[in-house]
Symmetry: C2
Subunit: 330 residues, 2 copies
């Protein structure tokens, strides 16, 4: 990792290098975004604003899947396919647990052996800054920098834990859920929250002896999704099968991503999703700051905890609890 330079930061020059597609400069710019130093944060804000006109041109794809589903091999294979098609591919991640575990996803570049050796690929592990809100905010801005640097596909990987999937869905144009064919008759359950988010379900390991099983699983998932009203009137989430090992189905998988963009661009939905995402990012950042204020002072934090406990135990009504906390902020 590139530590921010000790020299005074030359923002216009850094912005210029990012725009020119200099990967070392891009890595340095992302490190600046991830820094907690107040002066770095101010510079990072200015840098992203400076580069904003060059952002927005990539297609942004969120990818989720449980451990073992083959996310890294899928991204490796998909990334190589996209580069062969003439794209520049950035791979980012949102993993709020990485602060605890020391970087569980994308920490190890050997997980994407071929892609990490490609000059047209840029792989960056999840920022390891504690809260999901913080991690997601930094990944969003890293994504913008990658776009300014000329990457035209951004893949954002997440682990299938809690709210991290929602966070990644909220920063991407297309949200892809990877699944495995079940062992025997038993299907892997689709987490309910995921059904709401997924723009496509893709079943990996459709190779060798697994092909029939993968097709069977696809049919059942398809039947289940069919009963659900799609989120978009312009897109019924498909269920596809592929193999990250043999590459079978990868081209068709990507074609679905492009089909989704075509289908949602004409009615204005594609742009509307981005506009809404941007406004939602802003409000989320505001709320996070507001909550951070409540946590910064130990005395206030203690009072919030005791109020929460009184409300949870039914000793104080939520309305009066809200009064008490509002007074702390006044």
């Amino acid at each position: 990792m590139n530590a921010p330079s000790k020299k005074p930061l030359d923002l216009p020059s850094l912005a210029g290098e990012v725009r020119a597609g200099n990967r070392a400069a891009l890595a340095r710019a992302i490190t600046l975004i991830e820094s907690r130093r107040a002066d770095h944060q101010a510079s990072a804000r200015a840098l992203v604003q400076e580069l904003l006109p060059q952002t927005g041109r990539a297609i942004r794809v969120g990818i989720t899947g449980s451990p073992g589903v083959g996310k890294s091999t899928t991204i490796d294979e998909l990334g190589m396919y996209l580069i062969a098609q003439g794209n520049k591919v950035a791979v980012l991640a949102v993993d709020p647990s990485s602060a605890r575990t020391g970087g569980s996803i994308l920490g190890d570049k050997t997980r994407m052996a071929r892609l990490s050796a490609e000059p047209d690929a840029f792989i960056r592990p999840s920022p390891s800054s504690g809260t999901l809100g913080g991690v997601a905010a930094k990944t969003r801005e890293a994504m913008l920098l990658c776009e300014a640097a000329g990457f035209d596909v951004v893949l954002v990987e997440t682990v299938g834990i809690g709210q991290s999937e929602t966070a990644v869905c909220d920063m991407t144009d297309f949200f892809l859920a990877l699944m495995l064919p079940g062992a025997g008759d038993e299907l892997q359950g689709i987490k309910k929250g995921l059904v709401e988010l997924a723009d496509m379900i893709a079943i990996n390991k459709a190779d060798g002896d697994n092909i029939a099983r993968a097709n069977l699983a696809a049919g059942e998932y398809r039947a289940a999704l069919h009963i659900l009203t799609p989120r978009s009137p312009h897109w019924q989430p498909p269920v596809v099968t592929y193999s990250a090992i043999t590459g079978t189905g990868i081209a068709e998988l990507w074609q679905s991503v492009l089909d989704h963009r075509t289908a949602t661009t004409a009615p204005g939905e594609f742009d509307a999703r981005r506009r809404e995402q941007q406004v939602k990012w802003m409000w989320t950042m505001l709320e996070d700051r507001w909550k951070a204020r409540l946590k910064s002072d130990p005395a206030i934090r203690a009072k919030v905890k005791s109020t929460e406990a009184a409300v949870a135990e039914g000793r104080v009504t939520p309305a009066i609890g809200a009064d008490q906390i509002a007074e702390l902020l006044a």
Copy 2:
């Protein structure tokens, strides 16, 4: 509707009458909660706090369904069944559109002809106060007052629109989604958000010629739900059929509500859900107040709108937009 009395409010006496199960006093107390007058709001807060020790004893059931599914006849039939079993039944509603439409759901008591004539039933239309947050907050407090008045079942009806289902799910122990058998082979789609919330799907109009169709629909919904991982490890949401007209299946439907309570009480999930709901209510109220501050001053409101537009159009980064709005509040 009972307007708040012109006389100075005698809170201890009103609380006593509510505790004694006086329906007129209960209606007056709810009107107090719904009032926007600052002195009424302060009194309402004190009243709910005063009655808080007598709350929490009812079973709270949220009921959703699209128009035409037979929500009113279902609640009428279910309510009569519950009263025959010795219960006192309160029926409330969350309908944020009622301010616009003049009260679309539960505005008309004739919709529940038998139940509205029952001394052991209390029916209250949705508060008509504009925002969903405001409507939901008032209904939550009305629910607490009904419990203090001795009602041991609270049914909270909602229309299947946007976030109102989430709001009702967040104030109830059990969330019931009513559906219709499809016409012919075609199933009614389950809205994705609903799948995440529903503790049971119940298919109405399983009578006469419709029985086979209802059973077929139940089988398909069951297969679809089976593929989804349930929200609770202790409860797999069942799919049942019933007829609100003939009453067939109503007892079994209610038995599932009781089974859910039994299954989730022992592992502590039932109480945990309520505790979490209470704390979440508090934070929601705080956030609503905080946002109300941004809307109260026309100059601030205009600045927020222009910042939102700049962020949506990609002229300003979300981080800088958040800075600009935070400055307005400082």
